[in-house]
Symmetry: C2
Subunit: 225 residues, 2 copies
């Protein structure tokens, strides 16, 4: 039996559902490759179309603009991470163990998930690290938020916040700590490779050190209260 993991996407993000056709899946697949390779600023629908072997207009039939495509990709990623978390923390009773598992999932390199043929999670993870913030650091963030574009990110944050509360029911900042963990799992990774003196891991460049830092930060922070 072949199980296919399907992540439910916000329909306002696209004009035509990319999951429903070969061209659509190619748009997702090749946009991940191109953004990973050249960065989001240099990424255009024209280059994407050439890469796929279709025309610019073809891409525009699926996505209004590259900003919505970026939100689509990051949303997909957060949805996928939430699934990974619920999958890998299933059956774990101890919330501390659970939270440590979450930190590891967020900060460790991701192996490509064979269940999702057209999405390379490993590349997508790198894209979310380097470009993910650009999805919300815009003037339209308010309107995008009204359309629920950031729901997957917020849901993930809520899930992690609840685990934090399980660990420490009186802790006052579960959601802020959750968003701090998520952001820092990614930023410390970006810094480690690109601006190493902003971290303590420049020498070794080991993701395990980021995990250790976050564990230390989180569990000392929580224990106090």
């Amino acid at each position: 039996m072949k199980l296919q993991l399907q992540i439910k996407m916000n329909e306002a993000l696209f004009l035509r559902n990319p999951e429903g056709s070969e061209l659509g899946k190619n748009i997702i697949k090749h946009s991940i490759q191109l953004i990973y390779k050249n960065g989001f600023e240099a990424f255009t629908f024209k280059k994407l179309a050439e890469d796929i072997g279709t025309t610019e207009a073809g891409v525009y039939r699926y996505f209004e603009n590259k900003h919505k495509l970026l939100i689509y990709l990051t949303s997909w990623y957060w949805g996928w991470v939430e699934f990974q978390i619920s999958f890998h923390t299933n059956n774990i009773k101890d919330p501390v163990v659970k939270l440590k598992r979450v930190i590891k999932l967020l900060a460790a390199t991701i192996e490509d998930d064979k269940q999702t043929s057209y999405v390379n999670e490993s590349l997508l993870h790198q894209i979310v690290i380097a470009e993910g913030s650009k999805a919300y650091l815009t003037k339209q963030v308010g309107e995008d938020n009204k359309q629920q574009f950031f729901k997957p990110y917020k849901d993930l944050c809520a899930v992690i916040g609840n685990i934090i509360l399980e660990c420490s029911p009186k802790y006052k900042y579960p959601k802020s700590l959750a968003s701090t963990i998520i952001e820092m799992a990614h930023y410390q990774n970006f810094f480690m490779y690109n601006l190493p003196s902003l971290t303590d891991f420049g020498k070794t460049k080991e993701e395990t050190e980021i995990i250790a830092f976050l564990n230390d930060l989180v569990f000392s922070g929580i224990k106090k209260s």
Copy 2:
């Protein structure tokens, strides 16, 4: 006597020093206003030139492109913050008090500094919150870093890292904690106003709560070791 605060800028950031002429100062002043108002994506040298009353070519004589201008502005800001910190923590012996002061300076709203006529620090603070990461989240980050464009940010991070070590000499992650404080002081602010469910301050929208969160995070985190 009128003291003029001068922040030494990396000369590779500009073609002509904007501090040396009226037009240059106008470029800085109006770019801050325009980026604040419309965001960095919508900001163009053409609009800036119209705003100032000069021509596009005039702006290009000072800055190669808008990315370098953004790095210039954020660098200026980090330099200014480092000065504020050294000024406001001067004479403080207790490193814990010092670090708390630092957190407050990073997370609290900034009043416009009258010493710097053409820079509105209050607006610049908002720009750094919403656009600052875009200065380094690029494919050129490596080359920009080689040219020392991020030195002011790194210097600030080092200063804060050292205060952390004064508080807790055995703490293993002073630089990562420093960059976490800096980034989160800004991100929690952005989230609070734009994606409030990622924080615990959505109701009150009080910066004092961000400060309390960071104090809690930092001092519980350090005490353990």
